[in-house]
């Protein structure tokens, strides 16, 4: 009986200690860091990402020298940052997904939503983009701005279908920067070539 008392006391003590561990929320301040790098596909200690992006041949392009290449990510085929002299910046993301990713209307309305613009109806779609021919591709081009926003942003997006995948070239950022870079962006689109292995 006493033995049982003693063992129960020990058990109770252990249970109490077990119940005391709880992970806490923490907060701290850190210097700004560069965008994360893409884990290499040959890594032995990181599982590869399961996000389905486009398979098949890649496109190639030539970016202007003032566009600073950023590390790609699981979702991005390419990424560039453009910073103006006054410190404002814009970012170009290049992504590719299988299929039509919901269709032109859904894509354009998603970008409009990001700028707090009202969505377009299907009837308004034909006037929502222009087509820019670069020789190899016919890019659909969308130029969106919300002048009513407190910090007006502009999105310049071009997209094409290539081997069953939709490729998006989307430049977003401060209005001044995107407007200034629009000619360079259109020139950049001319450098986009289908790559055959």
């Amino acid at each position: 009986m006493r033995l049982r008392h003693a063992s129960l006391t020990a058990l109770f003590g252990c249970l109490l200690i077990t119940g005391c561990r709880k992970a806490e929320v923490t907060s701290y301040r850190v210097p700004k860091e560069a965008p994360p790098a893409m884990p290499g596909m040959g890594s032995t200690d990181m599982a590869s990402t399961a996000v389905t992006t486009a398979q098949g041949h890649d496109l190639e392009w030539q970016a202007p020298s003032n566009w600073v290449a950023q590390p790609a990510s699981a979702m991005r085929r390419g990424s560039y940052r453009i910073t103006s002299n006054d410190g404002h910046s814009a970012e170009l993301s290049i992504t590719a997904f299988p299929g039509d990713v919901g269709g032109d209307l859904a894509n354009i309305n998603r970008w409009r939503d990001q700028l707090q613009l009202t969505p377009l109806s299907p009837a308004e779609l034909p006037g929502a983009y222009t087509v820019t021919q670069t020789g190899e591709f016919d890019f659909k081009l969308v130029d969106l701005t919300n002048p009513d926003a407190t910090e007006p942003q502009q999105t310049l997006a071009a997209f094409i279908t290539f081997e069953g995948n939709t490729w998006f070239f989307k430049l977003t950022g401060a209005v001044g920067v995107v407007t200034a870079e629009k000619p360079a962006f259109l020139e950049f689109l001319k450098t986009v070539k289908g790559h055959v292995h």
Binding site: H5, V25, R29, A34, A50
Partner: protein
């Protein structure tokens, strides 16, 4: 009261308890060895050894109940048993000095193992050539980082450990102007573009990239070379109502940003970070092979170590069996990646690393002393008989 105390002491000093605990530990180790096939080494350590009780869920429910004593319980009682027996029973004599020294070594080994289990932290640091980092990342734990990125020079981070991200959990933190409500949490999940999964159920996400992605829960992996990639749906609720529900995942490497209360915020589920008061920059990674073959000869990372206060600013070379020991941390060369342009360092914090060495030294001296004294005694008797 005295009788009760005596029964208490008798229980803890008894040899019967030692034998029972040793028998239990044999069963525990055998069970854990079999379970390692499914759980892997880390899972087994957590479930069987770094716990007071092995827990199992009641069939058909999610309620865990203890089913067997765990490593901490058996080891702890063995430690108490050994120390109590020494205090209560053993008297110091030179003849028994060897055996007592061996026991002290064993006690230190048990304490060392306990402290290692409690204090040891293992992280990794991935560095691309030219990259500088002042934090390492966990292998297994994740955190939901909510970052105020408004300021140009610094970020204010609130990190919520994944152990708090149960479905339905609500987290209110003074530095956040909104509540965080976990709508769902998957410890391992695959993400696919929604257009690829026509029958996917409607997404819980209403903001960020989430509405375009379908999330499929996956069973936990315990394989050494695989990693669980967690995902969660988190809703942020301010005083005036919901801000939206975001899908976060360790697979989405870019944080998702939004504006609220005049500030810019970023949201991401990432591998738990451990920041340091110093930074490491990878200057060069070398992967040498034996001439004319692909057989690896040496992996090394040339690193620049810099402290915030500028007291240290030097280059170090980390290679196999030559780790960097700095500020209580040990940085081992653990791997490489990205066509030899990225190094992977294992970062270990173990304040009790020296205890196993002391323990083995004491036990070796104790056994030598014990057998030496026996040998001398035997020789003396043998000579006297001759």
């Amino acid at each position: 009261m005295r009788e009760y105390w005596k029964a208490f002491v008798d229980f803890f000093v008894s040899l019967r308890l030692t034998v029972a605990l040793l028998a239990l530990s044999i069963v525990l180790i055998f069970w854990a060895t079999l379970a390692q096939v499914q759980l892997g080494v880390w899972g087994v350590q957590a479930k069987f050894f770094q716990t007071f009780f092995v827990l199992a869920k009641i069939p058909g429910t999610q309620i865990p109940v203890p089913v067997f004593p765990g490593g901490y319980f058996i080891g702890g009682l063995l430690l108490i048993n050994l120390v109590a027996a020494h205090i209560n029973r053993f008297k110091f004599t030179w003849r028994k000095a060897g055996i007592q020294l061996t026991h002290i070594g064993l006690i230190i080994l048990l304490i060392g193992e306990l402290l290692t289990g409690l204090w040891q932290e293992e992280y990794q640091m991935r560095l691309d050539e030219g990259e500088t980092k002042n934090y390492s990342e966990s292998y297994r734990d994740n955190e939901l980082a909510i970052i105020d990125t408004t300021k140009a020079n610094y970020d204010d981070v609130v990190a919520i450990p994944d152990s708090r991200l149960d479905r339905g959990a609500e987290i209110q933190y003074p530095k956040l102007p909104f509540r965080v409500v976990v709508r769902d949490y998957y410890p391992n999940a695959a993400l696919q573009m929604r257009s690829q999964v026509p029958n996917a159920p409607e997404s819980l996400a209403t903001a960020g990239i989430g509405p375009r992605i379908a999330t499929t829960p996956l069973p936990l992996t315990y394989k050494q070379n695989e990693r669980n990639l967690a995902a969660a749906y988190v809703e942020l609720i301010g005083p005036e109502g919901t801000l939206g529900t975001w899908l976060v995942s360790t697979q989405l490497l870019m944080p998702q940003s939004f504006e609220y209360a005049g500030r810019t915020w970023a949201l991401s589920l990432r591998f738990a970070r451990n920041y340091k008061p110093f930074s490491l920059k990878l200057i060069d990674f070398s992967h040498d092979v034996y001439a004319g073959t692909d057989i690896p000869k040496n992996f090394s990372s040339r690193i620049k170590l810099t402290t915030v206060d500028g007291q240290d600013d030097r280059e170090v070379l980390i290679y196999m069996n030559n780790p960097l020991r700095y500020a209580g941390l040990t940085f081992y060369q653990a791997g490489f990646d990205n066509d030899d342009r990225t190094t992977v360092l294992q970062v270990v914090h173990n304040p009790s690393w020296v205890l196993p060495y002391i323990s083995c030294g004491l036990m070796s001296i104790g056994l030598l002393l014990q057998f030496g004294l026996s040998l001398v005694g035997f020789n003396r008797k043998h000579r006297a008989a001759a």
